[in-house]
Symmetry: C6
Amino acid sequence: DFLRALHEIVPAFGASTDDLERCRLNGMVECGDRHKHIYQRAVLLVEQVKSSDRSPLVTCLLEGPSGSGKSSLAATVGIDSDFPYVKIISAEAMIGLHESTKCAQIAKVFEDAYKSPLSIIILDNIERLLEYIAIGPRFSNLISQTLMLLLKRTPPKGKKLLVFGTTSELGFLDSIGFCDTFSVTYNVPTLKTADAKKVLEQLNVFADNDIDAAAEALNDMPIKKLYMVVEMAAQGQQGGSSQAIFSGQAKINISHFYDILQDTVRY
Amino acid sequence: DFLRALHEIVPAFGASTDDLERCRLNGMVECGDRHKHIYQRAVLLVEQVKSSDRSPLVTCLLEGPSGSGKSSLAATVGIDSDFPYVKIISAEAMIGLHESTKCAQIAKVFEDAYKSPLSIIILDNIERLLEYIAIGPRFSNLISQTLMLLLKRTPPKGKKLLVFGTTSELGFLDSIGFCDTFSVTYNVPTLKTADAKKVLEQLNVFADNDIDAAAEALNDMPIKKLYMVVEMAAQGQQGGSSQAIFSGQAKINISHFYDILQDTVRY
Amino acid sequence: DFLRALHEIVPAFGASTDDLERCRLNGMVECGDRHKHIYQRAVLLVEQVKSSDRSPLVTCLLEGPSGSGKSSLAATVGIDSDFPYVKIISAEAMIGLHESTKCAQIAKVFEDAYKSPLSIIILDNIERLLEYIAIGPRFSNLISQTLMLLLKRTPPKGKKLLVFGTTSELGFLDSIGFCDTFSVTYNVPTLKTADAKKVLEQLNVFADNDIDAAAEALNDMPIKKLYMVVEMAAQGQQGGSSQAIFSGQAKINISHFYDILQDTVRY
Amino acid sequence: DFLRALHEIVPAFGASTDDLERCRLNGMVECGDRHKHIYQRAVLLVEQVKSSDRSPLVTCLLEGPSGSGKSSLAATVGIDSDFPYVKIISAEAMIGLHESTKCAQIAKVFEDAYKSPLSIIILDNIERLLEYIAIGPRFSNLISQTLMLLLKRTPPKGKKLLVFGTTSELGFLDSIGFCDTFSVTYNVPTLKTADAKKVLEQLNVFADNDIDAAAEALNDMPIKKLYMVVEMAAQGQQGGSSQAIFSGQAKINISHFYDILQDTVRY
Amino acid sequence: DFLRALHEIVPAFGASTDDLERCRLNGMVECGDRHKHIYQRAVLLVEQVKSSDRSPLVTCLLEGPSGSGKSSLAATVGIDSDFPYVKIISAEAMIGLHESTKCAQIAKVFEDAYKSPLSIIILDNIERLLEYIAIGPRFSNLISQTLMLLLKRTPPKGKKLLVFGTTSELGFLDSIGFCDTFSVTYNVPTLKTADAKKVLEQLNVFADNDIDAAAEALNDMPIKKLYMVVEMAAQGQQGGSSQAIFSGQAKINISHFYDILQDTVRY
Amino acid sequence: DFLRALHEIVPAFGASTDDLERCRLNGMVECGDRHKHIYQRAVLLVEQVKSSDRSPLVTCLLEGPSGSGKSSLAATVGIDSDFPYVKIISAEAMIGLHESTKCAQIAKVFEDAYKSPLSIIILDNIERLLEYIAIGPRFSNLISQTLMLLLKRTPPKGKKLLVFGTTSELGFLDSIGFCDTFSVTYNVPTLKTADAKKVLEQLNVFADNDIDAAAEALNDMPIKKLYMVVEMAAQGQQGGSSQAIFSGQAKINISHFYDILQDTVRY
Ligand SMILES: Nc1ncnc2c1ncn2[C@@H]1O[C@H](COP(=O)(O)OP(=O)(O)OP(=O)(O)O)[C@@H](O)[C@H]1O
Ligand SMILES: Nc1ncnc2c1ncn2[C@@H]1O[C@H](COP(=O)(O)OP(=O)(O)OP(=O)(O)O)[C@@H](O)[C@H]1O
Ligand SMILES: Nc1ncnc2c1ncn2[C@@H]1O[C@H](COP(=O)(O)OP(=O)(O)OP(=O)(O)O)[C@@H](O)[C@H]1O
Ligand SMILES: Nc1ncnc2c1ncn2[C@@H]1O[C@H](COP(=O)(O)OP(=O)(O)OP(=O)(O)O)[C@@H](O)[C@H]1O
Ligand SMILES: Nc1ncnc2c1ncn2[C@@H]1O[C@H](COP(=O)(O)OP(=O)(O)OP(=O)(O)O)[C@@H](O)[C@H]1O
Ligand SMILES: Nc1ncnc2c1ncn2[C@@H]1O[C@H](COP(=O)(O)OP(=O)(O)OP(=O)(O)O)[C@@H](O)[C@H]1O
Ligand SMILES: [Mg+2]
Ligand SMILES: [Mg+2]
Ligand SMILES: [Mg+2]
Ligand SMILES: [Mg+2]
Ligand SMILES: [Mg+2]
Ligand SMILES: [Mg+2]
């Protein structure tokens, strides 16, 4: 059944840049030193896999709060590498499938990778791949066992594989001994005031004397949430002002911005 | 199996205003500032989705006690928007179906929405969609995973989607990390004395010098329960008086009203 | 599967007075003020559903200890109403069926009711319908979800429905949030000494100077248990005396009555 | 499936005295006042069911330690009654059957009983029928629900049914609210010294001056265990002496008897 | 399904001495008074079943630490009896079978035994037959129920059955009320220093002045572990010395013996 | 089903040195006294099985932290033995198979071994074979029971079997009583500073005056992790330096080495 499922899947050899690009639809802006450092270290891992015969398998976990930029970072490294096989494994593409079918699809991606001399696989949102839910907790042991084995299985002679995982549930992964299977783990953080300010300057939607206050209010927010708040505030109290603001003709009203921010902060 | 189930469902493209209207059968009355504020903010979200290219997906959760008016509010916003695709997903329409069939039907609604440039989906009574029950607690992890993925999946290029969710089990949704998937959350409250009074004035079933006492007794009651108590009290002690009362010819006897109220308050 | 099951069931439209009469095989006697009050309020609900357009669905829970007379009361109200569709849903009629078949049968009764302008449905012994057992506790979530949805689903335009539920496990129903789905809840109690005396007088099986002592001994007993104890005691110590007693020729020996009572009280 | 199973069973109408006799293979001896009292009360219940129209269903639970004589007592009452349908339902006859098949067989016995004017059903070893095991605890909820419904279902007009249940797990039955479904419950106890002495005198295997000491040592033992200990002791230290002892030619050596007793008492 | 499984099994009537002999491959040596006492009492039970009509079913549990000699003891009694049907039921022979198939096979052995006038059945390693594992704990309730019923079911008229059970998980069996189903229980212990010395003398692998020290070091060890330690030590530090030792030409080096002993004792 | 599965598997008789070699891809270096001692003891067990008739089955567990060298050690002993049948059972080769299929494959390997006079079976990563996960904990009881039986089942007359197990979850195996099934258990440890220094000297990638500091920093690290850290550090801060370093032309920058080390140590 599992084997049959494995063979029924249409082979998808080679890099599907589309899927990777979807992870960073709105382009990338600079968002602080920590993000930059992680990107550089990830590039070093790409080099290591490429150049060393003693490292046929390197695995790296990117963890951090929801929306902090983990998937975009992994996708960017994948795109920037010149590896012939780069593939993202995401639960979004497997909605409603049975856990054994998911396992077969995941194993299939690894089998395909083993046919390429140099490969990158991104396991996006591992907790979702594992069908994790906090109450219980519940998750798929079948998929967990499969991933733990795949993350430690040496590729065939002459093949090399770099795996990135992303997760916002480090505690859970740790509690099932999943983290130890990764060679190295990096924390992708929320933005600090200074980082937020840098992003806001690039967006250019606040008046100059509001920008510090706005950045301060956004301290410790993930990049994704920052974008959403700015979008909501840009509509204005009565709606209709967003076009003027994003074209630079108007600025966001700082007090309306505070109101919006309060709605999104849970009481 | 899941995919087959997905395709067997007859496509239901476009807004089904009937289902929405069923959520507010008895029309809408004004019931206080908080309800009004939430309505206005919801309308701003409609605008944002319509006008901004950087917000292809916005999600909003309406939470509050049972009967506080969440579904009617969401339905009203859906009706008032001029979106070509507005659809309510309700467990009522899926009684007795297997969880995988429910998932397929839910995913189908999202797939249909992705074909429309502007869409609104109402996930009504999320705890019921998840088959939640407090003891255990038990719920469908399959449906939970599906909804969590659908609530974060970016629509195809050029399509925009606004999702409203309603729930009276915020604590549960929070405990499974479900709330964080929403861009913003609003609490739809019970009526305070002042709000109740406003509603009673519009109903015109109490004598003028009883109305304050009645409103006071109804403090902190959800709008739905208020309607039921008034109906029961209008029958009178011996029955038969309701027509006279709702046509304005008679008023509710305040002491009978208190008796009825006591029956509905659990001891 | 569920839908097929739904259609395979032979439609059972209209009131089946037989099933209702079986709930009160031995006729009804007066058994105290509380029972009377609940009966009167239940009749008011019948009126409300009949007369008001704003109350297409009213739901009422009768709860109390085992054997206190809940089912007979609900059946009596159903018989006394002049509604064209009155139906009792009882687990007794579904012994050994799979939970999904039970759901289908229950849903079928509601669908049938929606075809009648005025309907009463009695959900008898809800804890048994839910296959509840205290250890675990265990129960059918499928049936729970189905009932919770049916108890809140507005009937089609122009149709009206009154639902009575009975249970001796209020604590359980409360713990799964089931009680809040009812518009109103009444407690059907055991008999107090005064109530028991009234019943014993109607039965006429004790000597006049024993009747107060007997009623005192029966304090806080449900009506059903009272009947059983009287029957057992009427056999006499050697058996054979019951005919004489129920025909009024002899009286129950009070000290034998105490012996029997002690056997039935668990040590 | 359940219904089909129900019909596939060969109807077994009428009393199968064989099954009842198997419960008391070695005949019955007198074993004390408590046993006698319970027997007499059980006979009264037989009368009540036979003579009263208001008691179409009476249910009686016999509980007590393993081997105390519950099944033999119930079987004896069944044999002594002159009812046309007397049937024992025992898990022994359903080894390895699926729980739904067991339910069908049990329900079948009740259906058969409903065809007879007067019936007795013995539910032997209820905890075993429920597949109860202390760890968990685990048990079949399907069978539990079925039995609880059957124990409260009124027989058809004109038919009368007396049900005896036996169990050595009263605490468990209580914890699932099973005991309240019985009209009356009797405790069948172990033998006290005086009871044991009476039994030993009838067996005539001890020397006259040993009999008091032996009875003392057997205090608080169930009748079944008493028989086993006597048998073991009768073999003698080297074996071979039992025939002489049971034929009255020799007596059990009291000190060997003590040794054996110690082996059977768990340390 | 179960019944079909029951009939598909090839009947295995009569004693299969091969299986019994496999339990004591290396012959039996004397290993202390307690072992001897249990053997003698077991032989008495064989006599009792053979000679008494009132004991058609006798059941005896042998419990003790892993490797203490329970299976060999039971097998020896079985071989030494002159019963026409002696059969061992062992989980080893049912690896990978479904629990219902195991039940059918077990029931089959009992059915076969009922056809023989005198039978012995050995339930070897009951915890393994029950698929017991300490975490949870988990075990097969189906097999538990089956065994509990079989252990109490009286054989057909004129047939007699003696059952030995072995287990090293007395605590577990007790917690599921399994032990009470046995007529008598014996504890098969580890070897004390004196017992170990007796065994070592028979093996003749230590120098005379080492034997007391060796026996002391082996105190409280099960017979099986003792054999393994002696074997390992006999290899010598560099290997190759075992033949000389077991042929009596050399002796085990006592300090190497201590080293080995320490490896096998868990730190 | 299980039996069919058993026969469908293509027989794999004889030693598959390929699978064993894959466990030590990068060759073996000396890594300290403890590793050496365990290797020597394992070789003694090979001798014992070969030479003694009383030890047809010897089982040895190698336990220790992830990456400490357990599998390579077991594989090396297997390769160095001159046994005709040496086989490794690894979960990696059974990804996605159903637990009953895994059981059949495992049992098949033992059956094959029983056909060879001398066999070694390596149960690699037992916790993974058991599908163990810490939360719950969950694991396959079917596979556990199968392994526990296989680890105690005596091979057929004249056949001999040595089993090595490896695990990094000793606590778990202990808690299910799994460890007691092994004749002897050895702990394969992490490297101490002195061991790490020895390995680093053989690798020759640090400057002479850095090697002590590096070894100190690597104290208590498993051999596998040590290799990975050295590889990562060898890339250099800007990448590209690894070839020079491993060819001996350059040395690892000690401060970059510290940086890398810190990344891999979880905060
Ligand atoms: N450096 C960046 N510049 C601009 N936009 C960014 C940057 N990093 C992330 N984003 C945007 O922020 C959003 C969230 O980023 P991303 O999905 O990578 O976060 P995540 O950590 O993977 O979140 P989740 O935990 O929800 O999977 C994306 O829409 C992405 O386009
Ligand atoms: N503003 C309003 N004016 C008049 N009626 C209202 C208003 N809001 C709600 N109602 C009525 O109150 C009832 C309950 O409202 P609604 O179903 O929206 O509440 P809810 O919060 O969704 O309840 P639940 O938690 O049970 O789903 C409906 O019958 C609706 O018609
Ligand atoms: N007012 C009454 N007069 C005479 N008999 C009554 C009356 N009420 C109840 N009974 C009798 O008492 C018995 C138990 O009543 P009923 O079945 O209605 O109780 P219940 O509360 O539904 O019990 P349960 O919790 O077991 O379902 C019935 O046999 C019924 O005939
Ligand atoms: N009064 C009696 N005289 C002689 N033998 C009796 C008597 N009562 C019971 N026995 C014998 O004792 C044995 C056990 O009795 P029985 O099976 O009725 O006990 P039980 O309480 O049903 O036990 P269990 O709990 O194991 O089902 C039977 O073999 C029966 O023959
Ligand atoms: N009296 C004896 N003389 C010689 N060898 C014995 C003796 N008793 C047991 N043995 C040997 O010890 C080993 C273990 O004995 P056995 O299998 O009977 O123990 P057990 O208690 O059944 O163990 P387990 O709990 O593992 O089933 C067997 O190989 C058996 O040959
Ligand atoms: N003595 C050694 N010399 C050189 N390399 C070694 C040595 N021992 C182990 N290794 C290497 O270390 C790595 C890990 O060793 P191995 O897989 O045997 O560890 P393990 O304890 O089985 O780990 P796991 O718990 O993850 O299964 C392997 O790549 C192996 O080549
Ligand atoms: Mg992501
Ligand atoms: Mg709602
Ligand atoms: Mg009732
Ligand atoms: Mg019994
Ligand atoms: Mg054994
Ligand atoms: Mg390993």
